[in-house]
């Protein structure tokens, strides 16, 4: 009895000493192991699957086929390359529009004004809205027969547009939805950057007689460069991976003519609608490498520019 009473504090102290000495890894390791396991195991498995002809079920017999899946994917001009193209058009177009609009709105909000709080709430609402619900909402607004969009055009005498149901208009319409939902994110990031700038360079340029456009282009924008890069990286990653609004509005395969089928939608369809795991894994590995390369390119330029 007595032994345990005296032993416990000593043991506790030695645990405590050990914990304190190793707190760096004691704190960091659980989160790293959690994510590491959830990423590493699946990623290795996906790489392996991309080298096999697995189909139907992952546990079904499958043969090792080397790089033939990659050859098949790279020579697929029906589904794969158009999907790559759509991913780039969607991401590039939406991102560019979000940056330009976001910068404009951030500049409008920059200097204080009355009612600022309400404007800020208004731009926050699209940002937190559930993407699937947002998709459904725009699906009703853009409905060719009963939607408000065509009603609005009608007031100005413009003929009805097919919007989401047209083969050429579906992707731009969804880019618009993405811009509607995520421009506020870019606004908030750029506004945080603008707020952290000091007034002096702008003042100096004003005294030197620069007009507002010159002050923005030659003073504010260069100072804001790193914030703009953060906005591009954060938004770019999410835009490349956009899935919710595409799948919620057009369903499997990005519509009957695959008109909004980006790489992510294509890979999801191959995996869970057609169970063609070999090809799906190949597409996913290529997609993942693509994201890494793009992010590396953006952040590498950022370092080079410093």
């Amino acid at each position: 009895m007595t032994a345990s009473v005296t032993a416990r504090p000593t043991a506790w102290r030695s645990y405590s000493n050990w914990a304190n000495r190793h707190r760096k890894w004691l704190f960091a390791a659980p989160a790293m192991i959690f994510t590491g396991l959830l990423i590493a195991v699946p990623l290795v498995w996906t790489m392996y699957l991309s080298l096999t002809d697995a189909e139907g079920s992952v546990r079904a017999e499958s043969d090792f086929v080397g790089f033939s899946n990659y050859l098949e994917v790279f020579s697929d001009f029906n589904r794969f390359w158009p999907a790559v193209g759509r991913t780039f058009i969607f991401t590039g177009g939406a991102l560019a529009a979000e940056l330009v609009l976001g910068m404009g709105i951030a500049l409008l909000l920059w200097r204080p004004f009355r009612g600022e709080r309400w404007v800020r709430v208004a731009i926050l609402l699209p940002l937190v809205a559930t993407p699937v619900a947002v998709g459904m909402m725009w699906r009703l607004i853009f409905d060719p027969n009963i939607g408000f969009a065509n009603q609005l055009l009608g007031w100005f005498g413009i003929p009805n547009q097919p919007w989401l149901s047209g083969t050429d208009t579906a992707l731009p319409t969804l880019m618009f939805v993405d811009v509607w939902q995520w421009t506020p994110m870019v606004v908030l990031i750029l506004l945080a950057g603008l707020t952290s700038l000091s007034d002096e360079p702008d003042e100096a340029a004003r005294i030197d007689g620069a007009n507002s456009w010159q002050r923005f282009w030659y003073v504010t924008l260069p100072l804001l460069r790193s914030t703009v890069v953060v906005a591009i990286v954060l938004r770019g990653i999410d835009a490349l991976k956009t899935f919710d609004i595409l799948y919620a509005t057009k369903g499997k395969g990005g519509g009957s003519f695959h008109e909004v089928e980006t790489l992510n939608v294509y890979a999801y369809g191959l995996s869970f609608d057609y169970n063609d795991y070999g090809i799906a894994s190949t597409v996913l590995i290529i997609f993942f490498l693509l994201i890494i390369v793009l992010m590396w390119a953006v952040t590498y330029r950022r370092k080079a520019n410093r």
Binding site: A31, F34, L43, T130, V230
Partner: protein
């Protein structure tokens, strides 16, 4: 260098000297008009969703009743009672709540160590979860968890949503801890606390604003998540976004009920956003001004 940057509203900036310049002419008018247009553009679609959810299915198809119609709560009654939406609301809430709490337990100490010991490479491991496309993990997850007979239960869903919340929490908390001065912790250690004691009793209480920010965002992102739940949830664990998606897989769309369901999923989040606006903005812009 401060991580949490918000633009304080006009009333809090009274300390500034009166504006150096008085802009006259075109710009102030342009600014007001532009701001009104922007607010309308962001708000009107949401208003439209609410209006449509209050119309019966005859009025939705009637162009003459665009704005003037007799509101009805029929759609909400339909969604909430006949389609069991209370169950989906509970599922969404429980998954978001549990995954946020568990992510905090893992993420806050990790972010602390990563900030204090500048473990950039280790932080990258966790942040990789934000970069990697979710689909590339879903196939293996599905089969691993199916083998363990876990698919369709809450456990897998919570685990997969932690994968969304954890990188977010780590990212936000690293920039929060970066901005927190070291002196207080050091003083506490001089006064006899162990390093872990100083973290628990000094740093953690000071981090409440950062933790609030991180948890609100993790909750929102989990609530809004669609893809993981689409694959991993079962009939009893379906979350709201999946339930809404399933609404349209039938032949004809019941627009009124679909909009009511969309309102049910978005309104709780928007109410949270209204009250925690400051935190959400600081979380979304964390690390944006690090230069």
């Amino acid at each position: 260098m401060t991580a949490i940057v918000t633009n304080p509203p006009l009333s809090e900036r009274k300390g500034l000297p009166p504006k150096r310049r008085r802009r006259r002419g075109f710009y102030p008018v342009f600014r007001v008009v532009a701001l009104i247009l922007i607010v309308l553009l962001f708000i009107l679609p949401l208003v439209w969703m609410v209006i449509a959810s209050l119309k019966n299915n005859v009025d939705i198809y009637d162009a003459s009743k665009t704005i003037i119609f007799t509101p009805t709560f029929e759609n909400y009654a339909n969604v909430l009672s006949r389609n069991n939406y209370f169950v989906f609301i509970f599922n969404s809430f429980w998954v978001a709540f549990a995954s946020t709490i568990l992510s905090l337990i893992l993420g806050v100490p990790a972010a602390y160590a990563m900030s204090r010991f500048t473990m950039h490479k280790s932080a990258l491991v966790v942040l990789l979860a934000r970069i990697i496309p979710g689909v590339s993990l879903l196939v293996p997850w599905y089969f691993i968890f199916a083998n363990l007979r876990l698919v369709g239960g809450f456990g897998v869903l919570i685990l997969s949503h932690m994968f969304v919340g954890l990188p977010l929490i780590v990212y936000i908390m690293i920039s929060f801890f970066d901005s927190l001065p070291l002196e207080l912790e050091e003083q506490a250690q001089v006064d006899g606390l162990t390093p872990i004691g100083a973290f628990l009793r000094i740093t953690l209480p000071l981090s409440v604003p950062g933790i609030a920010t991180a948890s609100i965002l993790a909750f929102i992102f989990s609530w809004n998540n669609f893809m993981f739940a689409l694959v991993l949830s079962g009939a009893h664990t379906k979350t709201l976004p999946v339930a809404i998606f399933n609404f349209v897989s039938y032949a004809s769309i019941d627009w009124g009920s679909l909009m009511a369901a969309s309102v049910v999923v978005t309104v709780p989040i928007m109410v949270i956003a209204l009250f925690t606006q400051k935190y959400i903005v600081s979380g979304l812009t964390a690390g944006a001004t690090k230069g």
